[in-house]
Symmetry: D2
Subunit: 430 residues, 4 copies
């Protein structure tokens, strides 16, 4: 079923001005419970505690990724580029729209604690007993599998994978612009129209006309800035640490047989590691926040305190460390115990360096877990990886940065300031 809607549907969007839906399949997908659930999951997890405007959802972002993909394909069709397989339009649009549908509440933090992976849930939702699966299967019996294979980067036409997943794909382009818009941080803007204009399908890949090199440089700089200004902001890291500790503590209590005054079945399964698809789809940030609000009233003082900290933004303080001084850290853990704190919960060392951050990694090849590199197409139809030609990209591609931060409950620690060693006071600058 490739039918078009009788009349185009238009969503007003603050980032792209409007989002146009022309296909019945897309319209139906948007209206499934599994897709509407994304309205209850924030795009930037806990970042709203740092940037109060960052309250936008994965629903908005998913529509945005779809819209950018739609624009790219329209441009290819309008210009009649023969390297673009026109029959893959609907597949590409569906994969773009659905690529994030498996995200759970506060995904990055929860995935770390519970070792789940949103991409796998995405494929389960596409292939499992869901409305989304039924809508996709109306197109053809193979169609759900094709969508999943695009998301898994194994689809047999690499150009479709290249469109949906690369170092400069619709996902990244939408989230940089959208996160910049909602946080109010204007480092993240770049000239989307210009980038769309210089993309070309070419021999199984999406490449960039060489004249667009500076626009790509600008896009990569936006990415760099957004990482350091927004995504790795230490206040956000602090809120993620508290969030993970809540889940660790709740899991511990669950395993110990603690009788929770409030517990939702889906959360119980999450804590026990027995989630199935139907439980997973019950999870969203509303139920997590409701649980935290109720757990503030639990008898377990540690759980209650952590939940209050998270809900009322009484986060851990952060102090940069010159280096990860393991000897001192061991001592500090002892000191923490001596003043009645629990170092497993009240002392964390963190570096964004551990995170999968790269401005741009040209060395990554298709087939690896990484994203396809950005290739420039010159007037003689030669392809060159962009960092060969761009001084600025070559300069920044190699930048690695890892600043250590220590996180701890400042209010608690300061109460015992006289009992802290001078070394510790020095490290914490207190």
């Amino acid at each position: 079923m490739l039918a078009k809607l009788q009349e185009e549907k238009v969503f007003k969007d603050p980032v792209h001005s409007a989002i146009y839906v022309q296909d019945i399949t897309i319209w139906k997908l948007i209206n499934t419970p599994e897709f509407q659930r994304l309205r209850r999951i924030r795009q930037l997890g806990t970042s709203y505690l740092t940037f109060h405007g960052a309250e936008h959802s994965r629903f908005s972002h998913s529509l945005g990724v779809y819209e950018i993909t739609r624009k790219i394909i329209s441009q290819f069709e309008r210009n009649g580029y023969t390297d673009w397989p026109q029959e893959e339009r609907l597949l590409s649009l569906c994969a773009s729209l659905l690529h994030d549908v498996g995200h759970g509440p506060f995904s990055h933090s929860l995935e770390e604690v519970f070792h789940t992976h949103h991409e796998e849930w995405t494929c389960e939702i596409i292939l499992g007993d869901t409305e989304i699966n039924r809508v996709l299967a109306e197109v053809s019996s193979d169609f759900p599998g094709d969508v999943a294979s695009v998301i898994r980067k194994t689809y047999h036409k690499p150009i479709v994978v290249s469109l949906v997943s690369s170092q400069m794909d619709a996902d990244r382009m939408d989230y940089l612009l959208r996160d910049a818009y909602f946080t109010g941080v204007n480092y993240g803007t770049f000239d989307l129209d210009r980038i769309l204009r210089v993309l070309r399908p070419y021999q199984g890949k999406i490449v960039v006309k060489e004249s667009g090199m500076h626009a790509v440089e600008d896009y990569l700089m936006s990415r760099y800035q957004m990482y350091w200004q927004v995504y790795f902001h230490p206040v956000t890291r602090s809120s993620e640490i508290v969030l993970r500790q809540i889940f660790r503590r709740a899991g511990e209590l669950k395993r110990e047989g603690y009788a929770f005054a409030f517990m939702l079945p889906a959360i119980a399964h999450l804590l026990e590691g027995t989630l199935n698809l139907s439980h997973y789809l019950m999870l969203d940030e509303s139920c997590v926040q409701t649980a935290f609000r109720q757990w503030e009233l639990e008898e377990d003082a540690l759980l209650s305190n952590l939940c209050s900290r998270f809900l009322n933004r009484q986060l851990y303080k952060y102090t940069p460390l010159e280096d990860k001084d393991e000897a001192w850290l061991a001592d500090a853990r002892e000191e923490w115990r001596s003043i009645g704190l629990n170092p497993d919960y009240h002392l964390e060392v963190d570096t964004p360096y551990d995170s999968p951050y790269d401005i741009y990694k040209p060395e990554l090849l298709p087939g690896s877990r990484g994203k396809l590199p950005i290739l420039l197409l010159d007037e003689r139809e030669q392809l060159t990886e962009i960092s060969v030609k761009s001084d600025i990209i070559r300069s920044i591609a190699g930048i690695h940065r890892g600043k250590y931060y220590i996180y701890y409950p400042d209010d608690e620690v300061r109460k015992h300031i006289l009992r802290l060693s001078s070394e510790t006071r020095n490290k914490l600058s207190i």
Copy 2:
């Protein structure tokens, strides 16, 4: 305690670029649990179902109202206007920040069903046993009462009331700009800087320099446009109808002694009309959405269906009616029953005319429930109500508009289309 922060705190804000906090009292108020709770209450209630960007919270808006008030007062202080009582700065800032702190989840809908009023809750929070009260009382024992009296418009210096509550106050200025920004509807923008520049304190009122008349016209036109484009959008009205029906149905079931598989204490008190302040502060949109998600699984088919409709955006269809044809409506209710629908839940007539809408009502006087009119100050220091001088404001002030819409579950009704009378099919254009 009027102390200043050692270093100004800055919140990045997408609408005002930055929000500056200089007073310890303001900083402490922002960090109370009661104020942080506003993060879990959307500024525009169900509008996110129409405009997916409208996911911003009352937390952001409250900071914005504070910031506009701060800017106005700074301008007054910088220019040394003697009609502004400088000692009222902190009171004005606190009242601005806190004016919406009593809002509950989906306020407008819930207030209609449960006959509560957010302004009363605001005063209870300010005066009751809360962190906010404790922070305010640190300023002076009278201070909480003064803040409440500004919000109730009874404070003894009318200029403070005029600043916080008038036809062009910081509240309206922030929400028009903010709602326009997040929905992406650019009708709502006006030149805030220019308006701030032409405000003057004058004989116990905040007035507008005559040269700013066109800027005020533009502000009022934005207001007009935002009402018809956003606030009264029929899809939003439809979602509010479904929301109210969920609560009506849950209340009915509660009274009937139905055994809910899921019930939170605060929601139980809400349904029973036995809310106290401590219950009220447990309410937020997370717990409401969590309840709805769980109630989808309840045995009561009507409650379950309404919750699904709300969560999955399967709202009621709307059809405009030429007039409110009472005779036909009585017949239609019968028809609804005959096809197995419940007209109390499946047929609603609505008109935004019932809503407290006015672009601008100059006839309202201080002391009435209304907001103070906009006064122009000319070069001869004469005050004139703006609609006397502005053709455009005079023209639009009198516009009343009420379009009737009928709302109903289109999917259910269409199943029985052959059993509907031709008149009904005609009215519904089906």
Copy 3:
């Protein structure tokens, strides 16, 4: 010759982001000397003396009008509307691009003094011995005549005229947005994308889908605001008065046989009323400003003083008059003479009411000199003139406003303040 360019040309544009040229004819027209001359003529005449950003040229605006027309036609073609005659695309684009090509330097002021009309010059340029004519004639021998007839509103297919010239045509849409952008006045913005989306070709006219009514309201309000904030700004009116006086004085001197130390042939013909097309094309704002700069050095004190005033922005002061008190004005002219001023040059009464201003005049019919009214197309394919349905447009359509201002050289008048009558001092508030 309807050939397309091998590769689309793109002009970066701050208002529309980019302007796309696909046709060889359009590309060639842009590169003619007659069109490039528009770079030396400001879009807003003397407004840059009030709004320093308003330095943009008619060249930019003409490209913008072309681009909006191109977007409208693309939308019509993409949707396959059968009421749009696809064969008229190039004609419409050429007429849009060239509609202002006959503008001279400071058009409005000069046309008043010398009784020329830019529309006639536009047709002369299109039909005369010019590069533009040669490029158009390459399309077909009838083509220049067709373009001229569209501009004269006599082309035999009224839909083309409707596209290029109506109450909401590409010309008005571009200049409101562009003038708002360059002056920095943000009253003039409206949602162009939304308006383009609701335009429809229908039975020989361009009409508006009813759902776009609020967008049109917003457009008309922008127009209203721009007129009163920018186009009729009294400082701009003052500069236009000084400009007209310079030309009146220079014409007088020329007729008296005064020996100008500096005179350009084209300006001499302008002053003498003997301009032909080739002289006219020599005129631009560079040569006018050069003449003024040189005339500052002329012996005639009046001419020299007026030129200094214009170049150095020492304009006439303006004072609003309650009414046009003819008796006092006659007295004032005497007073002016008695203090050595020349009332023909040093006293002007002006009202924007004399200007061809209308927010919107629905009564105007095709065939009259006016522009076509805005028609709404409803779901039953009925057309209704917009002010019938829109309260706001009905309210503002009737607004007439004429505030009198008196303009005079304040510095000169104040020197003799003691010799002025009390009535005059009162009128002038000095």
Copy 4:
């Protein structure tokens, strides 16, 4: 005379929203003929031929530089920073406003041909027999000299020089934002508010709080992008080449005693190298364009052709060269001659590398001709040059780039394509 205006004057500005004038001296300076003359000189010289929006003047830019300086000083005063000498406010504002007042028409090109320097003219205007000098001298007899010494970077308080002239001064900040706005190139935007917030006066310098490092990175990247996208755009380079050739040819003709049909005295002095201040102030872009328009009619075919090319944007074509192959260039010059072209005028090699371009040069020290480096102030009050701490700035600071381009009249050369050597055709890709 340090008096304040009775009422603040406000200029509407599209970049800064508004420009505020509070001092009588500033108001008077703006209204001098020498400052108003900047309205007739474009900020970006010939760039309007590449970016049609770039029609803004040095008048607008000078107001913008003043406004940024005013904002910086206000922030210093508001925070009571003791390292800022408050008595230097007016001096700093005057130097900012006037720093570009000596620019002539198409400055960069003319300075290259005639070996003048705008900074020297600025000082002559400030110190010579001008209105500006008279206004400044009203402050005190030393004041004009002080303003000139700030501009010459020799003023005895280095912090004032640091404010007006450094690697991140008000001049650069305004022009990047303004040029980005008017060209429509959005690479040039950065977060001005944030940068202003992190500037601090410290021990005789303006430094940056360390937390603002990323904002500075963003500013330097904007600078990098604007250089390559706008300032060094090859079409702009081409127009500058044609412009310089016009002046070279006119100078040649003048020296040869050619009888110009049109010549303005100031231009004659320019060509002869006998300009004095009074002539210089007669020069502006209006008179240059008027001269070119008249010179199109001159008998000298070369001059006439070059003027036509410039006015009608029939510029030289550019082709990138792999390297500056001197041997081939010598041959090409011969070829040019053999086909009747003049290699002195019809063949130019150019590289932006010759231009004084640096993203950022930390090695430059005060006292050298360069601008002061950017210093970060950390929490321990240590100063560190920014490239030590910023990976990205260190990476880009070393980028040198020089792409050779050859410029020539393509239309003329192609006429003789068969007579060109294959090497030449290859180099030119024709």
